[in-house]
């Protein structure tokens, strides 16, 4: 069994694409599309890596990440943040919230793959 990755993303098509190439790379991929219950889902799935979208229904990715980092067991969890808004401000906010890596949509699949391998080496 490979490592577990949780993708929290409200666009089902994007989730589908990520699932496609990560599972082929040996990841066990879980997906969730809402923000408000994201923390419970994380606690439940206990991923080795989190891919988190910023614009989510119910709660923004930044807020989720901030709360997550306050819990001791998740301080070291690698988190790759994705956003469709590519401004410098967004990058700063992601870093502040505790993101391990920040990537702008649209992304190249190979870039995601590379980042994931770096953040959570198998």
């Amino acid at each position: 069994m490979g490592k577990r990755v949780l993708v929290i993303e409200d666009e089902p098509n994007i989730t589908e694409a990520i699932r496609f190439f990560l599972s082929r790379d040996g990841w066990e991929v879980f997906a969730h599309s809402k923000g408000h219950d994201a923390l419970e889902v994380i606690a439940h799935r206990k991923p080795d890596l989190l891919i988190l979208d910023v614009m989510l229904p119910g709660r923004s990715g930044y807020e989720i990440l901030r709360d997550l980092r306050e819990q001791p067991e998740w301080t070291e969890l690698p988190v790759l943040m994705l956003t469709a808004r590519g401004q410098a401000k967004d990058r700063e906010m992601a870093a502040e919230a505790g993101a391990s890596r920040f990537m702008t949509k649209p992304f190249s699949n190979s870039d995601i793959l590379e980042a994931v391998r770096e953040l959570a080496p198998v």
């Binding site: 666009e11 994007i14 694409a17 496609f20 082929r24 923000g35 808004r85 949509k105 649209p106």
Partner: protein, 909 residues
């Protein structure tokens, strides 16, 4: 001839003596000594100019002709002095505070400084006084003749009498000019003249008493004997005519108040209100003494002298016939005194009126702009005054010459009384009734004066002189009710009573009626208040010696105006200045003129110069506040009110502008925030489909073992996301086109139902939004419109799609209500959700605004596009915050305006 020469010598000496008295008094007054000049005794004696030659000689003649009726002439003033003391006080108070120079000035001043009124009263006074002056000249001449007659020197006497009047007139004019116009005192007081008159008052009283004593004890043989003779004579049998008594008493009382010369001595020359207190008992006493021996002299004259002799001269002829030359000369001097004092004061009073109200206004009008320096005007005033004096006296002389000196003295006196009495209603009204107006006064005076002239004055010259016989007998223009001595058909009354009754009655009625009907000017109102409330004001000046109390009052006032600390600082500074720098702390400055001036200047910065002056004057005393100052105060106040009103309006406008600016700024800020939000929103909206497209393109390109189903599915995703991208770009483009006004409308006829049907079905298909029930009434919707149905449909689709997206009810419902009239249609879309938060309601029509971004499917352009479309179609779209759910209302005209289709770009932000 010897006696005559002695008489001339005595006369001249007496005249010189009077000149000397006047000169000494004038000198004393100028040096500031002579407190005695202003004593109440002098004041009381000066009032005796009421007793003219007419009283001196005429009273006896009157008694000889009409018995005790002469008493009325003394009764009137006595009643006024004793009973109407308070009225005189008010008159004097007003005269002093308003600096009144004559009765014409008083009337004019009371009624808003109307010069027309002043001219009217002046003319009345001149017309009424001229015969009276003539009377005095005549009396002097007659008394002269009496001497001549008694000496049987008729040849020369005629000559003498011819020239006597002229010489006397010239002498009197000279005296009046010399002592009446020595200086233009602001108060118009003439100490020399008043003193001379007081001396003359004593002389004439003494003379009459001397003759009386001679008659009672010398001729008649004691009081008892005299009373017996009176009872036996015609006078004793004489009956009182009630109407005449009342009329004459009233007339003499009125004359006492209104005669110009009485006003001059009583009001203008008054230096202390308290003098009235003495005069109120002393003057009636004087009159009593003057009248005491009138009847005995008359009775004795009738008894001893031939029937042909003139009763008017009994006072003179009785001693003469008895060979008492010295007494006769004394008596002559008494009569001379009465005549001269009257002429002098009358000329003085009249000349003041004539020069102030007639000559000066004319001169000023003729010399507009040339009277540049005050010395010039001063000179002109003096000349005018002098010429007026000469003119008035000469007029009297002229009247004397023309009338021929035939009329009974008493008759002329009464006619003059009745003339001046016409001023009484206006005077009383002015002093006691605030409603009296200038127009009313003018009308009353005109009516009274006219009637007096018509019923009394003109007929007095005798038939045919000024009034044709036909008018007297048949009335003016043949109207019997216009007969001068039987107005309105009332006949058989004494002409005097008749004239007084009608002229004063109609005068008063006209005055009151016109006053009630007319509206006083502000100046009149102010003056009216000043006059009517004269006694309420603190007229008596506060003494300068009450220094500290005054300064404290000034301090309190200054604090109120300048503010407590500023006032204190100012007073400290002034105290230090006065003490030379080492003032005791807490010491207030003394109210020196210098200090008062600086205080006034300090105050005037806050309240205006006139107000400051008035306030300081009010506290310090001295002259009370003049009307001119009060008016200036009113002006300043008005200006300040206007100024503060303007300030208020300006500040209101400013705050309104500020409010608008704040609102605009808030909107701009909000718009700017929205724009930033949109940029990231549009970025998100564009990047999201692009992410899917790129990700799946890469999968298809890079992955060898993609199953056929997967290949199929991923290609569809790429296709759908491309469509989504295109739609977004279309919306942006559409909005841009609409905003720039470059849209081409495709107008055609169709029904509203058709548009709603299409929209409902279009909105129902497609995306993943939950279904919504649309409640419609097809009956209402069958309305034919001429509009762009594609664009209208776009709006309807948007509204229905929004309801589908945002309605949060369990079972979403959208109600469509249609109402219409001739002008247009109104379509309401109401859902049953929880509505739009009130803070978001203002923003929903702005571009890129989305109430809840997370749930939005579009870019937030829908409602912006709808608003643009509705504007193009000549209608509107709005949100109604009244119902629980979201309520949008679309209104549009039955026929879309063509011109709007190609209108200029609309700037929206």
């Amino acid at each position: 001839m010897q006696t005559l020469n002695v008489l001339i010598f005595v006369c001249t000496a007496y005249a010189l003596f009077l000149f000397f008295v006047a000169f000494v008094a004038e000198r004393a007054a100028m040096r500031g000594r002579g407190k005695w000049l202003r004593s109440s005794v002098v004041y009381t004696l000066s009032l005796s100019i009421y007793c003219t030659a007419w009283t001196f000689y005429g009273a006896v003649g009157y008694a000889a002709r009409s018995g005790f009726e002469y008493v009325t002439i003394y009764l009137g003033p006595t009643l006024v002095m004793i009973g109407w003391w308070w009225l005189l006080r008010k008159l004097v108070r007003v005269g002093r505070t308003q600096r009144i120079t004559s009765i014409a000035d008083l009337v004019s001043s009371r009624f808003g400084k109307s010069n027309l009124l002043a001219v009217g009263v002046t003319i009345l006074a001149v017309v009424g006084t001229t015969p009276y002056i003539a009377l005095q000249l005549q009396s002097v001449t007659l008394s002269f003749e009496a001497f001549a007659d008694s000496l049987n020197q008729q040849g020369e006497a005629a000559n003498v009498s011819e020239s006597t009047a002229l010489w006397v007139a010239m002498g009197l004019a000279l005296f009046t000019v010399l002592f009446g116009t020595r200086n233009l005192d602001a108060n118009e007081r003439h100490h020399g003249v008043v003193m001379a008159i007081a001396v003359e008052a004593v002389v004439k009283l003494m003379a009459l008493l001397a003759v009386g004593i001679f008659v009672v004890w010398g001729l008649s043989g004691g009081v008892g004997d005299t009373l017996a003779r009176i009872d036996a004579s015609e006078i004793g049998k004489w009956q009182v005519d009630g109407g005449r008594w009342a009329t004459l008493t009233f007339l003499s009382a009125a004359a006492f108040l209104c005669l110009p010369r009485m006003f001059q001595v009583m009001v203008v020359e008054n230096s202390d209100e308290q003098h009235l207190r003495t005069a109120s008992w002393a003057f009636p006493g004087y009159l009593l003494l003057m009248s005491l021996f009138v009847v005995p002299i008359a009775v004795m004259g009738l008894e001893r002298l031939p029937a042909s002799s003139n009763p008017d001269l009994f006072v003179l002829t009785l001693p003469l016939s008895e060979g008492q030359n010295a007494l006769a000369i004394f008596s002559f001097i008494g009569g001379f005194s009465s005549a001269t004092s009257m002429v002098i004061v009358a000329a003085l009073a009249l000349s003041t009126m004539v020069s102030n109200h007639i000559v000066m206004p004319l001169w000023l009008r003729a010399n507009v702009g040339r009277a540049s320096f005050s010395g010039d005007v001063r000179h002109v005033v003096l000349v005018a005054r002098r010429v007026s004096i000469a003119g008035v006296v000469f007029l009297g002389y002229l009247y004397y010459r023309m009338s021929g000196g035939g009329t009974a003295l008493a008759a002329i006196g009464l006619i003059a009384f009745a003339g001046m009495a016409q001023v009484l209603p206006v005077l009383m009204g002015g002093l006691f009734w605030r409603g009296a107006t200038r127009v009313g006064a003018l009308a009353g005076l005109t009516v009274g004066f006219g009637l007096w002239g018509y019923t009394l004055f003109l007929p007095s010259f005798g038939e045919g002189a000024f009034m044709p016989r036909t008018v007297l007998e048949n009335g003016l223009l043949g109207f019997a009710w216009l007969r001068p001595q039987a107005l309105f058909g009332i006949e058989g009354i004494d002409p005097l009573i008749h004239a007084v009754f009608w002229s004063l009655l109609l005068n008063a009625i006209t005055f009151v009626t016109v006053s009630l009907a007319s509206f006083p000017s502000p100046l009149e109102r102010l003056q009216g208040a000043q006059f009517v409330n004269a006694l309420q004001q603190t007229g008596s000046a506060r003494s300068w010696s009450a220094g500290t109390a005054q300064t404290e009052d000034l301090m309190v006032m200054a604090q109120r105006i300048l503010g407590a600390s500023e006032a204190l600082q100012f007073f400290r500074r002034e105290a230090a200045r006065q003490a030379g720098g080492n003032a005791r702390p807490g010491k207030l400055p003394d109210p020196t003129p210098d200090f008062l001036q600086r205080l006034e200047r300090e105050l005037s910065g806050s309240v205006g110069a006139a107000t400051a002056h008035a306030m300081v004057a009010q506290i310090v005393g001295g002259a009370s506040v003049s009307v001119r100052e009060l008016l200036a105060v009113a002006d300043e106040t008005a200006q300040m009110i206007e100024y503060s009103d303007r300030l208020k309006a300006q500040s209101l406008e400013l705050s309104r502008t500020a409010e608008q600016l704040r609102a605009a700024n808030e909107k701009l800020t909000s718009l700017s925030v929205q724009k930033d939000a949109f940029l990231s929103q549009i970025s998100h909206e564009l990047r999201t489909p692009m992410t899917s497209i790129r990700a799946f393109s890469e999968i298809l390109r890079d992955t060898a073992d993609v199953s056929r189903e997967e290949k199929q599915k991923y290609s569809s995703i790429i296709h759908d996301e491309s469509v989504r991208l295109t739609r977004l770009l279309d919306d942006l483009l559409d909005l841009s086109v609409l905003e720039n006004g470059q849209v081409n409308l495709n107008l055609r006829d169709g029904t509203l139902r058709e548009a709603l049907d299409k929209a409902a079905s279009a909105a129902a298909t497609g995306d993943e939004s939950p279904a919504i029930t649309i409640l419609r009434d097809p009956e209402q919707e069958s309305i034919t419109l001429h509009t762009d149905f594609d664009r209208l449909g776009q709006v309807f689709i948007n509204l229905i799609a929004n309801a589908r997206k945002y309605c949060d009810a369990e079972q979403p419902e959208l109600t469509v209500l249609v109402e219409h009239n001739d002008l247009g249609v109104q379509v309401d879309f109401i859902d049953n959700g929880s509505g739009i938060p009130s803070d978001a309601q203002d923003l929903i029509f702005e571009k890129f605004a989305r109430v809840s971004p997370q749930r939005a499917g579009g870019a937030g352009l829908g409602l912006s596009i709808c608003r643009q479309i509705m504007e193009r179609l000549g209608g509107s779209i709005g949100f109604l915050p009244d119902t629980r759910g979201a309520h949008f209302r679309v209104t549009l005209p039955m026929v879309a305006p063509e011109h709007l289709a190609e209108s200029k770009p609309l700037v929206t932000n």
